[in-house]
């Protein structure tokens, strides 16, 4: 088809975030704007204070839980797979497989189609819809783990290691550090899928979101607050406790007997990272694509041009060069790796 639109006229980086001039909207803006399209609920992508927000229902719900119901002037729920018209620009949300409600945003105008994938992964995850590769002219990919050293193992193998350790050290508790949105619930669900049926103790910071996941039909089994009232030190012997990683360095962790600190993250692939963080049992479980997933996804989109954002752009750009695919880093500011 004849293209009347050039890619960089359809989407371009601005200090507020990725902007679509013909549609007059931003994708995942980091500052308050008029109209924001949001890929998923992690706080570096989903901020409060926009005049209007378009996102999946789950992402809107999650933003409501995190920021309060008045997080935006108005909201509109995007149904995955349904195309909307925004000022003449076609916009479609497609599942990204990152966390519950996460979506890629496909923007099409004048024969030019760009997919902004937000954060995504290709490994199966029972807590969210799987990523769908969308054919496009330009694919915008994250590169959190954009180095050939990042190879995530199957998640069930990692969970099996916690369960094995729990039988080896029945007198100690296992503290699994996992970010509050997505990773924590995925870890709990993996434990259940591996047959673990004892209560899982959770840090208070996880309660609301885990309850929301359960309300969306994602069964996490029996969750108990890891409070001192619910048990003395001895009661946490042999227990598996899930909490945000920061809590384990905190005084909060003193209620557990001789804890083994575990951390569920793609960064745990690097031994030195685990060592520096005082992690005894690293669990390489990530909600981001690893190197192999990144390159297979780029191939599957058939995109002629790749824009690489937040993460290690240089290696992925180099790989695209070797494959004869045009690629450039897209310098967007303000994204961290909250999800991992």
């Amino acid at each position: 088809m004849f293209k009347t639109m050039r890619a960089h006229d359809l989407l371009k980086p601005r200090p507020e975030g990725l902007y679509c001039p013909p549609g007059d909207f931003f994708i995942d803006p980091v500052r308050p704007v008029g109209r924001a399209l949001i890929t998923h609920g992690h706080s570096d992508h989903a901020r409060s204070g926009h005049r209007s927000v378009l996102a999946t229902q789950e992402t809107l719900d999650i933003m409501g839980l995190r920021y309060g119901e008045d997080f935006a002037g108005s909201t509109q729920a995007a149904v995955p797979g349904e195309t909307l018209d925004i000022n003449g620009v076609s916009v479609t949300f497609h599942p990204a497989g990152h966390v519950l409600g996460s979506a890629q945003i496909c923007v099409e105008h004048g024969g030019m189609r760009i997919v902004a994938s937000g954060d995504y992964k290709r490994q199966e995850d029972a807590t969210c819809l799987p990523f769908e590769p969308i054919r496009c002219d330009v694919f915008i990919t994250e590169a959190t783990f954009g180095l050939p050293v990042f190879r995530h193992p199957p998640d069930h193998e990692e969970i099996a290691r916690v369960l094995k350790s729990a039988t080896q050290f029945p007198e100690r508790s296992h503290l699994v550090g996992a970010y509050a949105l997505g990773k924590a619930q995925r870890v709990m669900r993996l434990l259940r899928d591996a047959g673990y049926d004892k209560p899982i103790y959770i840090h208070g910071a996880l309660a609301k979101l885990s309850e929301y996941y359960q309300s969306q039909g994602i069964d996490l089994g029996q969750l108990e607050p890891a409070t001192v009232e619910s048990g003395g030190k001895a009661d946490f012997a042999g227990a598996i406790v899930v909490g945000p990683p920061s809590a384990f360095a905190d005084r909060w962790a003193r209620r557990f007997p001789d804890p083994i600190s575990c951390f569920a993250s793609g960064w745990m692939r690097i031994r030195q990272r685990a060592k520096q963080g005082g992690v005894e049992l690293p669990l390489i479980i990530s909600d981001h694509a690893d190197w192999d997933e990144l390159i297979i996804t780029i191939k599957e989109t058939g995109a002629e041009e790749i824009w690489v954002t937040h993460g290690r752009e240089e290696a992925l750009v180099r790989w695209c060069e070797l494959e004869g695919i045009a690629a450039r880093p897209l310098h967007l500011v303000g994204y961290e790796d909250e999800g991992d």
């Binding site: 050939p148 080896q168 384990f248 007997p257 083994i260 031994r271 005894e280």
Partner: protein, 532 residues
């Protein structure tokens, strides 16, 4: 191979000794022969595999992937073995039909000639998982570096078989990988292995520390006293032409002390202290001894400058006769006569210390005649030579430790029970001209305080943090602010690795000096004066 790889991964991140023991014991219990025995040999350093050089490893990987991408990867990870294990590309269309066992890996590596070694290694890496690749690379590049000593591995075996670790140490040098007869015995399926090997290690007799009030109950005339030399406790065994110098845990250290080993031309098993110098003239200090420790190879120059000799304490066997059941008096008599027949530049006798009463000995203990003496030993005249640490026959009575007042500078979070506490402390003393002095770190300690004191220090650290780097916090410490710690330590070495130029031996926190202003803490000169 995956189970061995998993074991290595866990061991390297498990800080506690008990945790390591559990992991090792479970591994030995659940893995079959010969894999577990080969793993044991790999850990104790008894596995012989021709080494592959790092440059060769790097060459293998850049033949297989874009060197630029490898460069980015290596820069990020920083460790060659780990980088290669992660980035190693599986050949197109290659589906390993079977993951090699540790035994297969070892036998293929051992069978490889020098020229086809790299090819064999590459094939193994093609078939292995990521963590197995890491383990294979560790095996071929030498040195697992997982924080497990041979001694700890032997302790895990002892736990597995519910036997005393000295039994394993005694057997060890008669055994070879994969130790199937050892495991059979530990699992109660066979008799204890009997070895025909010569010059085996004999379990060492150890002493208990003198506690307050111990001596009042003891009759001083029942005990011999001798100096406690602060070298390396060794056992020299020569039997039928086989000579071995063992550490007190049964590791063969002959290779590190070829000069001493060469002088072992006798038929006996002797217990003593390895020191440096010429015993007829002067005994070297601990710093001199340091020159001979932890070296891969010992140059002739170093051997000449710091010759090793053995100061003999005891005789376990002479000319085929086992003396261990005899009383110390008798063993000592035989030893005195025997040492006279040995090369006087390499062997001498540890002198007995005469004392009419405990008070005299106390005075001698506090003011020993040589800096490398760390106290006195008390041995009952009638004591037999027993393995292990029996209570009663032998005592060590150490010189009081040195102490200094230092200022807390950095605190690091601990592990396990202490993972939410800042429990490892780096402390410093003042250096530089008065008025513009600065703190220089002189050591690190993580014990000596009570649980209650730990809580207090932890709170202090959290309230006075000025910077954080990962698990480490930098604590406010200047002329007006700072927590003074009284640090006790056994001795001081010169160090080129530390900015302060000194390294403490066995430092621990002996007292918290909340009362003392930081500016009144000690100066570096106080420590420098302690260097010999």
């Amino acid at each position: 191979m995956n189970r061995f790889a998993e074991l290595l991964d866990r061991l390297v991140l498990t800080p506690s000794r008990n945790g390591k023991l559990t992991l090792l014991r479970d591994y030995f219990h659940s893995v079959e022969d010969p894999d577990r025995g080969l793993a044991l040999a790999a850990i104790t350093g008894d596995l012989n595999i021709a080494a592959v050089k790092p440059a060769m490893l790097r060459a293998l990987v850049v033949e297989r992937m874009d060197p630029v991408l490898f460069g980015y990867s290596y820069d990020y990870v920083g460790d060659l073995a780990e980088t290669v294990s992660l980035v190693w590309p599986q050949p197109q269309g290659h589906i390993p039909n079977h993951m090699p066992t540790l035994a297969e890996v070892v036998s293929r590596l051992q069978a490889a000639s020098r020229s086809d070694g790299p090819k064999v290694l590459a094939r193994l890496l093609d078939d292995a998982s990521i963590s197995a690749r890491f383990a294979i690379i560790k095996l071929v590049t030498g040195g697992l570096r997982i924080g497990v000593s041979a001694r700890l591995a032997k302790q895990a075996l002892a736990d597995l078989g519910k036997v005393d670790v000295s039994e394993i140490e005694e057997l060890w040098h008669g055994l070879t990988p994969p130790y199937t007869e050892l495991f059979a015995w530990l699992e109660g399926r066979a008799e204890k292995p009997r070895s025909a090997a010569l010059a085996l290690f004999r379990p060492v007799m150890l002493s208990n520390a003198v506690d307050d009030g111990d001596l009042e109950k003891l009759d001083h005339s029942a005990y011999a006293a001798e100096w406690k030399w602060d070298g390396i406790r060794v056992q020299a065994v020569c039997e039928g032409g086989v000579r071995r110098l063992y550490s007190r845990t049964g590791d063969d250290v002959s290779g590190s002390f070829p000069d001493l080993a060469a002088a072992m031309t006798f038929e006996a098993a002797l217990d003593g202290e390895l020191l440096v110098g010429d015993p007829r003239e002067a005994t070297g200090t601990f710093s001199d001894l340091q020159q001979r420790l932890n070296r891969k190879s010992v140059s002739p120059k170093i051997q000449q400058r710091y010759p090793a000799f053995m100061r003999c304490y005891d005789a376990l066997q002479i000319d085929g006769e086992d003396l261990r059941a005899l009383a110390f008096t008798e063993r000592r008599r035989r030893l005195e006569a025997f040492v006279q027949t040995l090369d006087p530049s390499r062997f001498d006798l540890s002198p007995l210390v005469e004392f009419p009463d405990w008070e005299t000995l106390e005075r001698l203990r506090q003011a020993p005649p040589h800096p490398i003496i760390e106290g006195v030993m008390l041995k009952r005249w009638d004591s037999a030579y027993l393995a292990g640490r029996p209570k009663g026959p032998w005592f060590k009575w150490k010189r009081d430790p040195h102490t200094i007042d230092a200022v807390l500078m950095y605190a690091q979070r601990g592990h396990g029970k202490r993972s939410s506490f800042y429990s490892d402390y780096t402390f410093g003393v003042w250096s530089g001209p008065e008025g513009s002095e600065e703190l220089v770190p002189v050591g690190k300690a993580y014990f000596g305080f009570t649980d209650e004191e730990l809580k207090e220090i932890d709170k202090y650290v959290r309230d006075n943090t000025i910077e954080r780097f990962g698990p480490v916090r930098s604590v406010r410490a200047d002329r007006r602010n700072g927590l003074v710690l009284e640090v006790a330590f056994e001795g001081l070495n010169r160090s080129t690795r530390h900015k302060s130029g000194v390294a403490m031996r066995f430092p621990r926190i002996s007292r918290l000096r909340w009362d003392k202003p930081s500016v009144e803490a000690d100066r570096i000169e106080t420590l420098q004066a302690l260097l010999d």
